[in-house]
């Protein structure tokens, strides 16, 4: 158990290092407009926009092939930001692509996991750790909640759980307003 934890920690550290390189070495040389659009997308990489990730969607928007209201994880705020950037009018989220949901993370029921690695292959951000025939686990911090790992699991041991709110993530709500309380 301890060695497993150590191994995972080492892996996590290695990923941290590699990421630094990745950001420099593999930066997709790009169109500044695509970069600007991509910077506003939530990077959930879920594919609900019908593109294989946020950047391809950003490219499609830049080319005028996709509309600005196809990303459910970005929600209303995301659409407003895109509309602002592109000088267009905001519009409601296109329901064909899904609905806005609270933030979720994937949880693997570890005793049930058979170590098939299919979820690792599905995860767009390498947030699942494990090797063939070994129990797998999700790095909660890195999970974007894209749900792409849920379907491939042959033993249905992955479920999506709402992100637990604690005193650090808690925030003040807007005051409740009686009708007509503002001009």
């Amino acid at each position: 158990m301890l060695s497993a934890i150590l191994a995972f920690t080492a892996l996590a550290a290695a990923f941290g290092l590699i990421l630094g390189f990745a950001a420099v070495r593999f930066k997709v040389e790009g169109d500044p407009l695509v970069d600007k659009i991509d910077a506003l997308l939530p990077q959930t990489q879920c594919g609900q926009c019908t593109y294989p990730g946020c950047r391809p969607y950003a490219e499609a928007i830049a080319k005028g092939e996709a509309d600005i209201n196809q990303c459910p994880p970005g929600g209303e705020a995301g659409i407003i930001a895109l509309a602002d950037l592109l000088g267009r009018d905001p519009k409601p989220l296109n329901a064909r692509h899904g609905a806005v949901k609270p933030k979720m993370v994937a949880v693997i029921d570890e005793p049930l996991c058979i170590g098939c690695t299919l979820c690792i292959q599905a995860c767009p951000v390498d947030a699942i750790l494990g090797a063939a025939k070994q129990m797998h686990t999700v790095i909660e911090q890195e999970c974007t909640g894209c749900e792409l790992c849920v379907a491939p699991c042959p033993v249905d041991c992955i479920r999506m759980a709402p992100v637990q709110q604690d005193i650090r993530s808690w925030k003040w709500q807007a005051p409740l307003e009686a009708a007509g309380s503002h001009a």
């Binding site: 990923f15 990745a22 950001a23 997709v28 005193i167 808690w170 925030k171 807007a174 009686a178 309380s181």
Partner: protein
């Protein structure tokens, strides 16, 4: 002292309600059966537990160590046995529970080994900061920022150390009573702070509604034969105890927007923090207790208590003659800046300066439309335009609120107090700040996710290339092997 004073903009004259809780001398709170010590009683990272359930701990022993630079350790406030570690109610506006360590006290009050450093003058400032850090001291005025950080001049010249003794919010009197009763401890602590900062000047700023405390400080300075520390009375006007406001009144200097006092050569600490620094350094005692004002219309015998951190609030209410079950509205802090505590089983923490109890919450008047009267802007001590901030927060135009210096708002509540339309202005600002922080966090998370995704794509591409290379090589090898075999028989 007839020092020249300046005036900060806005502010309010509020009825003090201070005499209620200063009639009786401070008493020690009774030792509770259980102490619940949250791991997160300060600004910064949560402390990491270093004791296990079942372990016996001594008074003053570290039970959770600081994690990272901006953090503070937690100590056992009395001796006993650790009986639980997990989530329990804590005083927080969310009403959520948070990780705590629970100690069942044994009544022995047996101290761990203490390492006093009576002669601090021989010590290097960095060593003193370390002692203060290890003692778990955070700003006791309410903010809870780890104090050792604000005792590090960071290469800047600190010309003035200001001790905040204004205690400007109504009802709160814990600093007042501490000054009356323990002025010498405060003075000793100030000298240690000054030594750590190499500050040339030192001023204690106190509102002129506390003549006894003022006299006690002056007397202590005289008896200890210490000069070079000025005690200056400032006019009583809320929020004279705001850090930027007090600095302005005493020195005429203004802390820049988004800046820190140290940027203009000033460091400001609370007087109770100074007393805690003295105890930590010269007596070797970590921060395990503090003065707390127990007051409000629901408290029959309002007074100050010296409370072990972790003591349930309900027991303090009882000690002051109140029946906790009849308290329908419990506020930690004062009526202007405090927040409601959802259960009186929550413990006193390092930042608990006052408990304000009433049977019922005050009636909230329904908000009406803004009539653009400008009263809020006149009252704002931070020179902001509260009406514009409200407008943009309400419209969820958070960038615009930020452009109107939302983050300079100290949430003092002056604007909301004068608003004839009873708009809960401060709640809008807290909401807007929370949204901006959340977006910032989400953006950082998205940046990490983008990098991880790009790395993954690159990795997959590389694996594919390697696979293809291997494939090509195999093919070539196969072709090489087959070729001679094909030709051989002929």
């Amino acid at each position: 002292m007839n020092a020249k004073l300046w005036r900060f903009p806005g502010g309010l004259h509020l009825s003090g309600h201070k005499t209620e809780s200063t009639r009786l001398p401070t008493q020690r709170a009774r030792l509770p059966k259980r102490l619940t010590l949250p791991l997160h009683q300060h600004i910064g990272a949560e402390a990491k537990p270093v004791v296990a359930v079942g372990e016996r701990v001594l008074k003053g022993q570290v039970i959770a160590r600081a994690e990272g630079y901006v953090s503070a350790p937690v100590h056992a406030s009395s001796s006993g046995t650790v009986i639980a570690a997990g989530d329990f109610p804590v005083p927080h506006p969310s009403g959520l529970s948070a990780p705590c360590i629970v100690i069942e006290t044994d009544g022995a009050e047996q101290w761990c080994e203490r390492h006093p450093t009576p002669d601090y003058t021989a010590q290097d400032p960095s060593h003193l900061r370390n002692l203060i850090r290890e003692a778990g001291i955070v700003g006791l005025g309410g903010a809870g920022f780890p104090s050792f950080i604000k005792l590090n001049p960071l290469g800047k010249t600190v010309d003035t150390l200001i001790l905040n003794a204004a205690e400007c919010e109504p009802y709160i009197t814990c600093d007042d009573m501490l000054m009356r009763e323990r002025a010498a401890e405060i003075i000793h602590g100030i000298r240690i702070m000054r030594h750590a900062l190499h500050a040339a000047h030192c001023i204690i700023g106190i509102e002129d509604n506390k003549p006894e405390a003022y006299a006690a400080l002056v007397r202590a300075l005289r008896e200890l034969r210490i000069d070079g520390i000025q005690v200056i009375q400032v006019p009583t006007r809320y929020p004279a105890g705001g850090e930027k406001q007090l600095i302005h009144v005493l020195t005429g200097r203004e802390v820049p927007s988004n800046g820190l006092p140290v940027h203009i050569g000033i460091v400001c600490h609370n007087v109770a923090t100074a007393a805690a620094v003295h105890r930590a350094v010269q007596l070797g005692e970590p921060l395990i207790s503090r003065y707390v004002t127990i007051t409000g219309p629901g408290v029959p015998e309002p007074r100050n208590l010296e409370v072990l951190l972790g003591t349930p609030m309900a027991e303090l209410l009882q000690q002051c003659g109140a029946d906790p079950s009849s308290i329908g509205h419990l506020v930690m802090g004062g009526p202007m800046m405090g927040f409601s505590v959802h259960t009186s089983s929550a413990p006193v923490v390092k930042t608990t300066n006052c408990l304000l109890a009433a049977e019922h919450a005050p009636a909230v008047q329904a908000a009406m439309p803004c009539i653009r009267c400008g009263a809020c802007a006149e009252a704002c001590p931070a020179n902001l335009l509260p009406q514009q901030l409200y407008w943009h927060a309400h419209a969820k135009e958070f960038d615009k609120a930020q452009n109107y210096n939302l983050f300079d708002c100290i949430e003092c509540g002056c604007c909301a107090a004068v608003c004839p339309s009873h708009i809960p202005l401060v709640q809008y600002y807290r909401y807007a700040k929370g949204e901006i922080w959340t977006r910032e966090r989400e953006k950082q998370k998205a940046d990490v996710a983008r990098a991880r995704h790009e790395f993954r794509l690159a990795r997959l591409a590389q694996e594919k290339a390697e696979r293809e290379a291997r494939h090509a090589q195999k093919k070539a090898e196969l072709a090489g092997k087959n070729a001679p075999r094909e030709t051989a028989p002929h």
